[in-house]
Point group: C2
Chain length 76, copies 2
């Protein structure tokens, strides 16, 4: 899978596991909500400093955002 | 540590563990040698697609490039 799409799925999955809206993640990370939306859709190509901001806001290590499978829930 | 510096140290450590020059990593990853040099110095802010290219060339998962410690050798 394209790594941008993988990052987007990981951000979305972890964000939802926190019960957060995109607005809440935007506030916590200091990024704009439309940028979060673009990342989750795989439409953006975030830099490592953006990964750091997202990972810190979500309370995970930045490498988790690059994982190639969902570690918390399995697909059917 | 700044994540750009961490990525740089990881790329340099793994590259050297392969016995590769920056030129060899540039060839394998399709990136320019001066860009590799900038990443290793922490002067660049690489995107996730660049991490993917480096990780594929080095034969590691992309999350390894964000690790916050050297897993292979310890510092004295």
């Amino acid at each position: 899978m394209d790594i941008r799409r993988q990052v987007g799925l990981n951000v979305q999955r972890i964000r939802r596991s926190r019960g957060w809206s995109q607005e809440e993640l935007a506030f916590e990370s200091g990024l704009h909500r439309t940028y979060i939306s673009g990342i989750e859709r795989g439409a953006r190509n975030p830099t490592v400093t953006v990964l750091r901001a997202l990972a810190d806001a979500l309370g995970v290590g930045p490498g988790r955002l690059l994982d190639d499978g969902p570690p918390e829930t399995a697909s059917p």
